[in-house]
Each structure stands twice: as structure tokens, then as C-alpha cells.
Amino acid sequence: MKLDRRSFIKLAGSSAACLTLGQLGVSLAPVKAYASGIKISGAKEVVTVCPFCSVSCHVIGHVKDGKLVNAEGDPDYPINEGALCAKGAAMFSMTTGKHRLQKPLYRAPYSDKWEEKDWDWMLDRIARRIKDTRDKDLILKNEKGDTVNRLESMFLLGTSHAGNEECAIAHQAMRSLGVVHMDHQARI
């Protein structure tokens, strides 16, 4: 084994060593003319995970100009090996479908309609609601006099659609508030 990688690929890897069509007197003019008339554009390939069942098939999303244009099974993930089921294959339409919510929506008490609001307005109001509820209802001691610090009147439901990191901070947030009613798809 006297050779290292550099030495045995230096020939193949050196363009100086390579014959060109020009040297053979072949004209590339027609091909160049053709090439100047076609439109070529770039796309990124991003590895992600199918959002349906827990086989967690890997998916390669093709993203062009910031938009998903195609999704295919990741052939390297040893479980799905490039295959996708019908739902996974429809992921493209699901992400881009018309049914997506566009803006935060607010429904006032006793109202019969949604109103569009911005995120900050919504979050400010939600924070206020949470704090008021907690300040009003937090149970510091139970009937026996044990310290319990429970906020029984507020709850969190969902979701297994969240990532691990989201679940971790959701749990932490709820416990700090005293929330004990907490549940999601694992129980149904």
C-alpha cells in the first residue's frame, strides 16, 4: 500500500490532463447556443421528517425560491429507504394547501365572528388572561393544609405534533404556573 489517495486520483482530478473537445476540433457552438436559450434554476434539498405516524420516515424536501416544490422519501434513512406511503407522499399538498390559517384570529366573548389580530396583541392578551386566572385561582394549600400550589382552573391539551424541545418547554411552563390538568394524544 504505497499509495495514498492523493496520488491515485491526481490524474483523474486534474483538468490539465484532460483532453477537451476544442483540442479535437469539435465545435460546441450549437450546444452553447442551445444552452443560452434554456432556463436553469436552483433548488435546495432539505432533510426533514414526515409529520404523520411514528415510523418517522425521512423526507427530502425540494425547496425552490423558498417554496416546497416536491417531497420524496429519503433513501438513506434505513427504515423507509426512500419509500413513502400515500399520506407522506401527499405532504406537499398538505403544506401548501389552501386550508392553512393565515393570521392569528380572535373571537371576542359572545361574538359571532373571527377578527384578525397581530401576534403581539394576541400574546399580550393571552399572558394577561393566564396571569389573572392564576392570581385568582392558584390553590396554595389543600383542605388538609398541605402546600399544593395548584392551578386547577387552567389546562393544557396537546400535542404530539410538537417537537421534543417544544414539549420540554411546554411542560416546564405549565408546571411553573401550577397547571395540573395536562394531557395530549398519548392518552387517546
Partner: protein
């Protein structure tokens, strides 16, 4: 990709190149006969049977290709057969002047010389080509290198064809060929796998690199640059002609290299991977204009 007949594939690929983009007709006319001659030589050698090189796992694990250090004179008969089948066409295609043609033909008439060039090519011994060119009075060493590659090609390809399963079973995740050490001239995404297994079959799409010299195809990570191994989503990009998504440039903006890629899941019939490159020069032009350089320089992507 192995099929019963290399010639049949060459033929249908040439036809498809001509039909799709007439601008390639001149190239197809000129190089078609050479591809056919190579295909025939390969088919004939394979039909006759050809010895396989030894498979040394320890060497492979260390990243050393099979044919490095291998004494190729054991195959000198096969090299001679390939020479006889291919050389006249090469000389013709290259439009070598009579003196040079005569000198090359005479030099290669000795199988030892033939094997010597093949060995030098695999070992990356450029000096040998330069020296021999001077001796033979050929202007450019690159011509001799090309001739050597074209003559060796059918032998090495037949060898790879013959090794079949044993070769596909080896673990190899490098960007150069486990058989001969060359870099890939093109890559492809594998077609759907239909086996006798009654099941959801693999969706295909596995990336294989196609060796520029011996034609061996080896599996490579789908989401990594062939040249530098970069697997970051943001710095790699694929380019294709709008609506022709199955023929593409896989570019790495980190190392500035690109490699062409054909998605065989979409193709029927399946193209010959060496021939198909000749019909994709428009992609090379785009890549070069985008300041990218090919992973492997070939006759097709030099662009001058």
C-alpha cells in the same frame, strides 16, 4: 447499472440525445461509433468471461482501491482484445494525423505497453504519459491519456460487471472508486427496486457515483457533496432545466465543485451513464458560468 447489453443502451441513449436536442447531433455522430465500439468490446469480454481481482477487505477498510498495486498484466489478453476492437475508432474519432496514429498503434501493439499505460493511469503516474507522448511524438499527453482510458475502459468495465454481487456488498463511503480509485464522472439516483418480495418496495432514489474510468457504481450519501463531504442543507444546491428535474447539477458552494446527476426513477429506458453525459453539456455550461468546477474533468465538461 448493468444490463444484458451495453451496446443496446448506448444505442438508445444516443438516439434519445439526438431526438431531444438536435444541437447535440454533431457530437452524437462523431462519438457514437466510439461508444458503440466500446460497448461491443465490453459485451464481448464479458461474454468470454474475465477474471476478477482479489477482494481484500482490509485494504478496502483502509480506503485503498482494489486495483491499486494490482499487476494488470494478468489481463493483458483482455487489454489486447479491447485494443483491437476500439483503437481504430479512437484514432478516427480523434482525427490523429497519420504519423501519430501509426506511432500509437505500433506502441500499443505490444500488450506490455498497453498494460503499462493502464497501470500508470490507475496509479496516477502522469509522468509516464508525458514521457511516452514525447517518445511517440504526440503533441499532448492528454490525447494518450484519453486513448489509454478508452482502451482500458471495456476491460475494467467487464471486470466490474463480472464481479457483480461481491462488489456491491462492500462497505465504501468515499468519493473515489473502490475498484480503480478514480473520481466519478456522474452520479445517479437509483430506480425503484422491484423484487419478488411482495411488499412496499424501496422508493429508490439512492445516490450512486459512477466511476469515470471503470464504470463501477458505488453508493454514496444522498445529502453530501461528493468532493468535500459537506452535508449542510444551505450550502448545497441542485440546478436543473425547468421541468426537467431528473437531470441536474449537484453543486456544493462550500468547495465550489459540482457533479451531474441523473434520476433514474424517472427514466425509461435507462440511459447509458457514460453516453448520457455527452447530452448534458448545457448543464456543464451553466455550472461553469456559475463559477463551479466539475468533480472530475471529462471530455464533455472542459468546454473549450
Amino acid at each position: 447499472m448493468k444490463t444484458a447489453s451495453a451496446q443496446k443502451k448506448v444505442d438508445s441513449t444516443l438516439e434519445s440525445i439526438r431526438r431531444r436536442v438536435p444541437a447535440y447531433s454533431e457530437l452524437a455522430d462523431r462519438f457514437g461509433p466510439l461508444f458503440m465500439a466500446e460497448g461491443k468490446a465490453r459485451d464481448d469480454l464479458r461474454a468470454k468471461g474475465i477474471d476478477a481481482p482479489g477482494l481484500d477487505t482490509a485494504r478496502l477498510v483502509a480506503g485503498v482501491p482494489l486495483l491499486v498495486d494490482e499487476d494488470l498484466s494478468a489481463w493483458s489478453e483482455a487489454f489486447a482484445a479491447s485494443r483491437d476492437a476500439v483503437l481504430p475508432t479512437v484514432v478516427d474519432v480523434l482525427r490523429l494525423d497519420a504519423d501519430a496514429a501509426g506511432a500509437v498503434t505500433a506502441h500499443l501493439a505490444d500488450s506490455a505497453n498497453l498494460v503499462g499505460l493502464a497501470q500508470a493511469r490507475i496509479e496516477g503516474n502522469r509522468k509516464h504519459f508525458e514521457n511516452t507522448s514525447v517518445q511517440l511524438g504526440i503533441e499532448q499527453a492528454s490525447s494518450l491519456l484519453y486513448i489509454s482510458e478508452v482502451v482500458s475502459g471495456p476491460v475494467l468495465r467487464a471486470m466490474v460487471d463480472g464481479m457483480g454481487e461481491s462488489l456491491s456488498g462492500i462497505a465504501w463511503d468515499r468519493g473515489y472508486c473502490p475498484v480503480c480509485g478514480s473520481s466519478p464522472s456522474i452520479s445517479y439516483l437509483s430506480p425503484r427496486e422491484v423484487s419478488d418480495l411482495d411488499q412496499l418496495v424501496g422508493g429508490g432514489g439512492k445516490k450512486f457515483l459512477h466511476c469515470s474510468l471503470c464504470g463501477h457504481d458505488w453508493r454514496f450519501k444522498r445529502n453530501a457533496c461528493v468532493s468535500c463531504g459537506n452535508d449542510d442543507n444551505q450550502t448545497r444546491e441542485v440546478f436543473y432545466v425547468d421541468d426537467v428535474r431528473h437531470e441536474r447539477i449537484e453543486a456544493c458552494h462550500k468547495c465550489g465543485k459540482y457533479c451531474l446527476n441523473v434520476d433514474l426513477r424517472e427514466c425509461e429506458p435507462q440511459p447509458h451513464l457514460d453516453v448520457v453525459q455527452m447530452g448534458l453539456i448545457h448543464l456543464d455550461i451553466f455550472a461553469r458560468n456559475s463559477e463551479l468546477t466539475p468533480v472530475t474533468p471529462t471530455l464533455w465538461n472542459g468546454l473549450d
